[in-house]
């Protein structure tokens, strides 16, 4: 069993890291063509991400979309998570499922839905359409994090505030909301990273007129590989790993992923 545990864990780690490792090696290659083992060492392909205007533009577009849609996702999810937990709301399970559903269904459905929606509004191919679609699609993430925070909140805290004479509004503003902020930040970060990486919705909604970074990568791949694409991949991997490492260090990654509270008390 011990041998099995060790070999399975190793296999999984190798499987998850292998393609990323090869891409990282290729991205430092001096040569324009991809070789392995690589020849020479160069940061040229990384510099191009910033120097080449079309790469820089797609960076900016992606960052704007990710920042705006994650903010909107939190704005949609937080009141929903709070109200469904704090009040007896009619049809609460249905409303919660409505918030989970877009993310559960294959993304191509949301993508085509948004495409026909904006077509019928005669407002297609705009950046705000992508922001809107991403906000709805990824609002599930802050919905889950904030709902978990509501579950975990000690009920005596808002009660104490009200016993001391605070109105409901003051209690919400000074006690509940500050306690929810960490979960809102985690929800924001998760939505941000996933939006940055999202391709199919952005592609179908953009109708070839807005180019986010994943769209740019796929477009360039149609004309063959370049080490610049490998450099983009490495930057993406670095962003994802950094966000989740920060998560593990400063937030509670285990709780966010739904671990049993008992396991969190265990030895560190």
């Amino acid at each position: 069993m011990r041998a099995l545990r060790w070999s399975l864990t190793t296999l999984v780690v190798v499987f998850l890291i292998a393609p990323l490792f090869v891409v990282a090696v290729v991205s430092f290659n001096e040569n324009r063509y991809m070789d392995f083992p690589p020849e020479g060492f160069s940061l040229h392909w990384y510099a191009q991400l910033w120097e080449d205007i079309s790469w820089r533009e797609s960076w900016t577009t992606s960052l704007v979309v990710a920042a705006a849609s994650a903010a909107l996702a939190v704005l949609i999810a937080t009141p929903l998570a709070y109200l469904l937990r704090a009040y007896h709301v009619r049809l609460a399970p249905v409303l919660y499922s409505l918030g989970i559903l877009p993310f559960m269904l294959p993304p191509v459905i949301s993508a085509l839905g948004a495409l026909v929606f904006w077509n019928s509004m005669h407002h297609s191919g705009r950046i705000e359409n992508i922001v809107m679609s991403h906000a709805i699609f990824f609002s599930t993430l802050p919905l889950v994090t904030v709902s978990l925070a509501m579950e975990a909140m000690d009920p005596s805290l808002p009660e104490a505030a009200q016993t001391l004479g605070a109105s409901q509004r003051t209690t919400f503003r000074t006690i509940t909301l500050p306690l929810l902020v960490p979960s809102m930040i985690t929800g924001y970060a998760a939505a941000f990273v996933l939006s940055l990486n999202e391709y199919i919705i952005a592609f179908m909604v953009s109708r070839f007129s807005v180019v986010t970074l994943p769209i740019k990568v796929v477009n360039d791949l149609r004309y063959g590989f370049t080490p610049t694409i490998a450099a983009v991949a490495v930057v993406f991997i670095a962003i994802a790993t950094t966000v989740f490492t920060l998560f593990a260090l400063y937030g509670n990654l285990l709780k966010f992923l739904g671990a049993d509270p008992a396991i969190l008390e265990r030895e560190r």
Binding site: F36, L98, V116, A230, A240, A248
Partner: protein
């Protein structure tokens, strides 16, 4: 938060914002998609309102049904492989010390957050001729010359497993952390080996979780778009690829809408099955 207050008018007023957003930007588009699936396509132009069953008939005949069955088959296969690997992995993970536990979770989450663009690209490189795994084998002297392993069915399957595996871990993780350690300890006190405990105690207890996780990962892989497009030949394309291909390059939105609706019903059916399994498990427990 144990006690819930009665909902006030103010609460409903605030609730109107998130629910309204979800309704307008998710439910309304779905409704328009239903209507569009009956619309008439104008060759070389776009589409016009109509009521015809042509799109549905085309979908349910011959080649597209075949592609649908292929999509379902490969997603089931990839889902099964991933869950078979992810279940023991997650079980071991939840029993690790804190540090490796967190490090592995960060790795799994990072892999999950990666775009299919990046995953697909990385595997094309790894399985490709110029910088791939075969070059390492040549370098080691195991092979004579490098070879390309993509595009192929095997490559699509590997890619799908790569995106499905972290998702499996994520769906199994919350439940497996709740597996009472006393249960496995009891089995071992009574003399069962860890191996036997795993097969005769852990797996049977977790059967509903495994089933639910498997169905969820099936829906997830069914949604994969770029992996089959990058790593496979057209005969390995899945429903998602056809939908987006019809909607964008072929400009046949009504037909794409019919296919997307079928995919919606299929996914909703599977999700309903998952909820039924979960409700039943809760009743037993």
């Amino acid at each position: 938060m144990t006690e819930r207050r009665r909902a006030t008018r103010g609460a409903y007023a605030v609730l109107a914002f998130p629910v309204g957003m979800l309704a307008v930007f998710f439910l309304v588009p779905l409704g328009i998609m239903v209507a569009t699936s009956f619309y008439h396509r104008i060759e070389g132009a776009f589409y016009e309102p109509a009521f015809e069953l042509a799109n549905w008939q085309r979908f349910f005949s011959g080649v597209y049904m075949e592609r649908t069955l292929f999509s379902i088959g490969i997603s089931l296969f990839a889902g099964a492989v991933s869950i078979a690997l992810a279940f023991p992995f997650t079980y071991f993970l939840t029993r690790m010390r804190r540090r490796p536990h967190v490090v592995l979770l960060v790795l799994v989450m990072s892999a999950l957050a990666l775009s299919e663009v990046i995953v697909g690209f990385s595997w094309t490189v790894l399985l490709g001729r110029s910088a791939g795994i075969s070059n390492v084998l040549v370098w080691l002297g195991v092979m004579n010359e490098s070879a390309a392993y993509q595009p192929s069915f095997f490559a699509v399957l590997l890619g799908l497993c790569y995106i499905a595996f972290p998702y499996c871990v994520l769906t199994l993780y919350p439940q497996l952390t709740r597996l009472d350690p006393e249960v496995t300890e009891a089995a071992q006190t009574l003399g069962a080996s860890p191996w036997r405990t795993f097969w005769t105690v852990v797996v049977p207890i977790c059967r509903p979780i495994i089933m639910a996780g498997f169905l969820l990962v099936f829906v997830f892989t069914l949604g994969s778009y770029l992996i089959p497009a990058f790593l496979g030949r057209p005969e390995h394309w899945t429903l998602s690829v056809f939908i987006s291909d019809q909607a964008t390059f072929n400009a046949n939105v009504p037909f794409a809408a019919a296919m997307a609706l079928f995919l919606t019903f299929l996914s909703l059916g599977v999700v309903a099955l998952v909820m039924w399994i979960e409700a039943r498990t809760r009743r037993i427990a």
